[in-house]
């Protein structure tokens, strides 16, 4: 047997799985989004009709779709910078020569990343309970009036953002820490001899050296945060007053609760489009800034 056919034989299982269970469904999803596939079509496929771009058109005129997109953008725009700040801050602390017990602290700070979203979301719901939650108990003791985290549409999303920061910052912390450790010590040595302060060292050595990693990590975090689903599903069930309905939550409801699978597919592709545009724009902006620097 020649080498090339061996290679294809080795590739076959993985390519078959990816083709049948990812590529094919993605293409089918594009087709599905152009039909009125609903519960009647689910019962009898003859009820299926081609509707062109009508699903997309309807979505663009649906208040809840824009609301869901708005909530998701809120989550991304507030959640990503906060997560990145937490990751960078803890990575800097862990990288400091003054820090002791580094492996212990690193493991402790990373622990939430490996936990199950659903399980820790259940804890969160309890911590932020208005009647007997610890968070409001502490706030009251600090003289701050308790907040109805689960019942007030203005506070539900901030609570979910806090959850996401807590759950995810450890991941980027590890990557940034590796980036910090790769910066040559001589650079700091030279800066210190020149009398540069800690802040100036951070501004002129650490940040530029870390910039490519920050950009990559930021883009990955943005695309991850656009896929918000389990948190509102478990903590708030999309409420109160639909204030935490994310795009994927809407897709899930449309597709698997009401069985409007054509509409739900259109929701999925619109989310993909938004994610693609957002990450591309970030990447362009980041690269041109690096070129300028």
């Amino acid at each position: 047997m020649n080498r090339a056919s061996t290679a294809w034989l080795f590739l076959a299982p993985a390519l078959l799985v990816l083709g049948a269970f990812f590529l094919l469904p993605v293409l089918a999803g594009l087709g599905l989004s152009l039909t009125d596939y609903d519960i009647y079509a689910l019962a009898d496929i003859h009820n299926l009709r081609f509707v062109g771009l009508a699903n997309y058109w309807d979505l663009l005129h649906r208040r809840l779709f824009w609301a869901a997109l708005g909530h998701t953008l809120y989550f991304v725009v507030a959640g990503v910078p906060l997560s990145m700040l937490a990751s960078l801050g803890t990575a800097l602390l862990l990288n400091s020569s003054a820090a002791r017990f580094k492996p212990v602290f690193r493991t402790a700070l990373f622990a939430p990343v490996v936990t199950t979203v659903v399980a820790v979301a259940v804890i969160w719901r309890y911590l932020f309970n208005t009647q007997y939650g610890v968070v409001d108990f502490v706030l009251t003791h600090l003289g701050i009036p308790p907040i109805d985290w689960l019942g007030d549409p203005h506070w539900a999303m901030p609570m979910i953002i806090l959850f996401a920061v807590w759950k995810n910052f450890g991941y980027n912390m590890i990557i940034l820490l590796a980036g910090l450790q790769a910066i040559p010590a001589e650079l700091y040595e030279a800066a210190r001899i020149d009398g540069a302060s800690g802040w100036r060292q951070f501004r002129h050595i650490t940040l530029p050296a870390l910039a490519p990693i920050l950009l990559m990590v930021g883009i990955l975090t943005v695309s991850g945060y656009f896929q918000l689903f389990a948190e509102p599903y478990v903590i708030t069930e999309g409420g109160p007053l639909q204030s935490t309905v994310s795009v994927l939550y809407l897709m899930y409801q449309d597709g698997f609760k009401w069985w409007n699978m054509g509409t739900a597919s259109a929701v999925a592709f619109l989310l993909f489009l938004v994610m693609f545009v957002a990450t591309m724009a970030l990447w362009r902006a980041g690269v041109s800034r690096e070129d300028a620097a």
Binding site: F10, P25, L32, A99, A108, V117, W166, S223, F272, M275
Partner: protein
């Protein structure tokens, strides 16, 4: 700033962060051992007055937690074994075997990473429905049997393998499959452990797809079961915390035991940019 002061500040900040981060997990554990109703008192108690296993007993006796635990274990193990096989074969082929269009195909796979998995979920559900596989283990296992990330990870690692070893084995007339099993696999062992840990944890924690594909209680995984419990038992904090403990502790223990491998995978996976 004086070195002693800054050392104190850095360590105090780290300790404060760690305490804040671990508090929810600590409290989960503590509340799970409390008597019914005890956790809903004001001020919230930090430790159970008389620790009890009642919540755990209730979960396993009446809520079907044992069944969900077994389901999670079966699915995560099957996904890990199957995807390890598929990804290793493909990753090695991309790294060391020659065929026309190798780089282009690999680039196409990496490019496909921009498509969020949820785009495929609706048609995938219909596909499995027409195949009669909805609400079976296969519905969750089949789509997870290969992953671009896994192929990428194996390829990165396999590329550093010396070609001379493979050539020497070929000179001796060994077949490609034998070379793979006897020469390549032992060399790939560290990355296989890494991939196994990452895959198992991901499969164990996965939520959205199992929620869609497993429609009957008897097939629920732990996260799906826990989510459905939490929608029914909102008031029973002790019970819910015990459920969270049963779900989270296995993955935390696995992570602590194999931390080195896990973190290496995380760092290797992040250099793809």
């Amino acid at each position: 700033m004086k070195p002693r002061v800054s050392r104190w500040l850095v360590n105090a900040a780290l300790a404060a962060c760690a305490a804040l981060v671990l508090f929810p997990l600590f409290w989960m554990l503590s509340v799970s051992f409390m008597q019914p109703g005890e956790a809903n008192a004001l001020p919230p108690p930090m430790l159970p007055q008389i620790p009890t296993l009642d919540n755990y007993r209730e979960l396993f006796a009446h809520a079907g937690m044992g069944r969900w635990f077994a389901n999670s274990l079966i699915i995560a193990t099957a996904v890990t074994l199957a995807s390890l096989a598929c990804n290793t074969l493909a990753g090695y082929a991309f790294a060391k075997l020659h065929f026309a269009g190798r780089e282009k195909l690999f680039d196409a796979l990496i490019g496909a990473l921009v498509i969020p998995a949820q785009v495929a979920m609706l048609p995938l559900f219909l596909l499995l429905k027409y195949a009669g596989l909805v609400n079976t283990y296969a519905a969750v296992i089949l789509p997870a049997m290969a992953s671009v990330f896994g192929i990428f990870l194996v390829r990165q690692y396999a590329r550093t393998m010396p070609v001379e070893l493979l050539e020497a084995a070929r000179m001796e007339g060994a077949g490609e499959l034998r070379i793979f099993i006897e020469v390549v696999l032992p060399l790939l062992k560290p990355i296989l452990v890494t991939l196994a840990v990452l895959t198992f944890l991901t499969a164990w924690n996965d939520f959205m797809w199992p929620l869609i594909a497993l429609t009957g209680q008897q097939h629920y995984t732990l996260p799906v079961g826990l989510a459905s419990l939490s929608r029914q038992h909102v008031q029973d904090s002790g019970l819910m915390m015990a459920g969270a403990v049963v779900t989270v502790v296995p993955v935390l223990v696995l992570f602590l035991a194999l931390q080195r491998y896990y973190l290496r995978g995380l760092l290797l996976g992040s250099v793809k940019g």
